[in-house]
Amino acid sequence: MDSALEFSGIAKNYEGFALRKISFSVPRGYIVGLIGPNGAGKTTLIRLALGLIRSDGGAVEVFGRDPRLAGADIRARIGFVHEAPSFYDYLSAERVGAIMAPFYPAWDQTLFGRLIAEFGVPPRKAVSSLSRGTRTKLAIALALAHRAELLLLDEPTVGLDPVFREELLGRLSALIGDGFTSVLFSTQIVGDLERIADFIVLIRDGRLLFSGPKDDILDHWAVVRAGADLSAELAALGPRGLTTTRQGVEALVEDIDEARRRFGRRALVEKATLEDVFLLCREVSRRES
């Protein structure tokens, strides 16, 4: 599968935090959901893809090229939405668009005007007077107006009202319909990804815990809830995560059929949701490790 973005064993060290040899790719024409708690390393990965920071090991390739060396060409084809978009606050949305436009060969002024109108961004109001959600809408309009081939969205739905969130998700789904545009969507609101993502990447504390098709999770993974007496038996199953609760234990396992066969009526076996994966997944997969 042709990749728009590929991380191969990427590492980045900060004081008190390190990304450890993370590998995954964003195939062309797909949406990849990047999930993980605060401080997991999601923003660091996106900054690496943009060439804003250097890696301490491994490689990043965007459209087959190193973003640190071919950054200008690559960034013309990337749309980027930061979790807290920063602009020159005293300018209006219209003016911000006018400043950005000359940098992008594929900039579509008509599309930009239409997007800010559809998103309800006041064109002539200073950005400083806009709410966080409206600033994010402006950032999304800017990212879409130059017809980017790769969208890097860093927590884009934070601060957005549910109606616009739905609209954004619908728009992203439509975008990848051309089989060419790709999206890396980082979020903690995993419900967003359940609807639109094709692949899921889960990171925690700078480590990759899972990377694979979303449908693998939704079709085959299960949450087993059982009494504490089954703890050892569940652990022997090699679960992705095992948590002790007041009621007993909860385990995240990869094979729902096997879990049903082995535990039958002794435990509650349910299909896992992305929320379950986000909360329970602790172990690095044998497949990915």
Binding site: R54, G71, I74, F87, Y88, D89, A98
Partner: protein, 230 residues
């Protein structure tokens, strides 16, 4: 690079315009301080050039204020182009500052409100030399450390000046013989070069040296800025 300059102009024209007006008003008072009556338009312009060389701090300061470095670096431009635009922009801002102040002072001087002695022919060389030296020293720090680096640079030079003045006052000028002799020797060497080469050749050499210094400084800044993380 031109797109970046256009961006900076759109973003900063109001602040720059206001600063030019205040700057000029401040410097127009300069001749009133001089009681000797020997202040030439050239000397005044030299002093204004020193002050205007620090105007590019506005560009860097506002980039810091709006946390816009990451935004600039996520645009489809190279880091080298950003650095080059900062140097060209810095020169344009400083030269325009001198031009605005000089035009105002020229008008006042000609009108007899603040009469100054006419400038020497070296004026077109002195102004870019002063600006070039200060920008070459200042911009690498600004591009690496932002406004904090520039303020650190200014505070450090001020503190150095205060220490030297204190030392000189307490122990006499012999306390700083190394600096004194270095300044005297440099001034002497420049004077000798001027006399030997003649004004025209000397001006060409001086401007070429300033251009070389700025090229080296720009190269250093690009090397530093490529390594900066946002």
């Amino acid at each position: 690079m031109w797109k970046l300059l256009r961006k900076d102009l759109i973003l900063n024209w109001r602040t720059l315009g206001l600063t030019y007006c205040l700057w000029s008003a401040l410097w127009l008072g300069g001749p009133a301080i001089d009681t000797s009556g020997s202040l030439t338009f050239g000397m005044w312009s030299g002093m204004v050039s020193v002050a205007c060389s620090f105007l590019p701090i506005i560009l860097i300061g506002r980039e810091d204020k709006f946390k816009a470095w990451a935004l600039a670096c996520s645009l489809p431009v190279t880091r080298d182009a950003i650095v080059r635009s900062r140097y060209v922009g810095g020169w344009l801002v400083a030269l325009s500052g001198v031009a605005v102040a000089a035009a105002a002072m020229g008008a006042l001087s000609l009108a007899g409100v603040r009469p100054l002695l006419p400038p020497t022919p070296m004026l077109p060389v002195v102004v870019p030399t002063v600006i070039g030296i200060i920008l070459a020293l200042m911009l690498p720090l600004g591009l690496r450390f932002g406004i904090t680096g520039l303020i650190g640079f200014l505070v450090a030079t001020q503190l150095l000046g205060v220490v030297l003045l204190l030392a000189s006052a307490l122990f006499g000028s012999s306390a700083i013989p190394l600096i004194e002799s270095a300044v005297k020797n440099t001034a002497g060497a420049v004077g000798t070069l001027h006399r030997t080469l003649g004004s025209v050749a000397f001006s060409v050499v001086l401007l070429a040296a300033v251009a070389a210094l700025n090229t080296a400084s720009c190269g250093l800044s690009a090397w530093i800025f490529r390594r900066r993380e946002f």
